[in-house]
Symmetry: C2
Subunit: 145 residues, 2 copies
DNA sequence: CAGTTGTTTTGATTTACTCAAAACAACTAT
DNA sequence: ATAGTTGTTTTGAGTAAATCAAAACAACTG
């Protein structure tokens, strides 16, 4: 078995989700566990260092499998390619910088549940509420005044 | 001058926004005033009836001009092409059907302002909060149980 | 009504992503 | 251990949405 504790953990997560354990899957999950909010190209480029034979299409396939298994969350902010993060299970939201498009997590929203009820449902059965905060990150506030 | 009250109104709106009044712009704005949440292709196809010589690229150009003039709002729900609506100036939100991707407006959110403050700002200067409610529209609830 | 500025057309190009067939690798059960 | 089955990855092509650029054209200015 693997002698690397983190790799073992990733393997366990894959197995528990009913997925076969493959090198590309472990690598992609490892990349996302370290740094979130990456697009497919960025994941591909990070995976390419340890696994140079992995194709971009494989990365797309792995990401799709991980998302549908619930191990990875996909977000699609306006103006960006789809981004992936390994933080799942909590219903957290995102702040996106209007200038540099960087994304930060928002742990929760004050007064959360009662406030996120749409006022006119019109027969619509709401399952989730997704909030995106748009503004300027601290870097871009000083750099682009 | 035009003898059509609605067309006149659209022309006034364009002029007030500092835009030149052209047939494609009046037509696009007219289409969006009637039915919202259309993608560029849908706008193009509706504009093509009265103005068959208008190109799809012109529609993209018109939409971009209208959006940056503040006459039209662009939304980009995950999994859909960009959608455009003429309802601007109010900060309303949207409900998107997970099944048929149809979009409905949400006039406001109960308890609105105080609730939409992210709990950890981390130096991020929030300008707007955008909420997307995901669920099933009334049609798809009965059709796809 | 001529000139200037900005818009639209025409046509090519890009980006992000998807599809499909064949080669290959992981898990299963012997 | 190993053969078989199932599912994954590679390879290569293809698509949709949107963007870019140059030339033709139209709207507003004076």
């Amino acid at each position: 078995m693997g002698r690397d504790a983190q790799a073992d953990d990733l393997e366990v997560r894959l197995r528990l989700a009913g997925l076969k354990v493959t090198a590309p899957r472990v690598a992609v999950l490892g990349v996302l566990a370290t740094s979130g909010h990456l697009d497919a190209e960025a994941v591909f480029s990070q995976v390419s260092t340890p696994l140079p034979k992995t194709s971009l299409q494989a990365v797309y396939g792995v990401l799709a499998a991980l998302v549908s298994a619930g191990l990875v969350r996909k977000i699609e902010p306006a103006g960006s390619a789809a981004l992936y993060e390994a933080r799942v299970g909590d219903n957290h939201h995102h702040m996106v910088c209007l200038n540099c498009k960087s994304v930060e997590d928002v742990d929760c929203v004050v007064g959360e549940s009662p406030c996120l009820t749409p006022s006119n449902m019109n027969g619509f059965a709401v399952q989730t509420a997704e909030i995106t905060f748009w503004g300027l990150c601290s870097q871009c506030q000083t750099a682009v005044p």
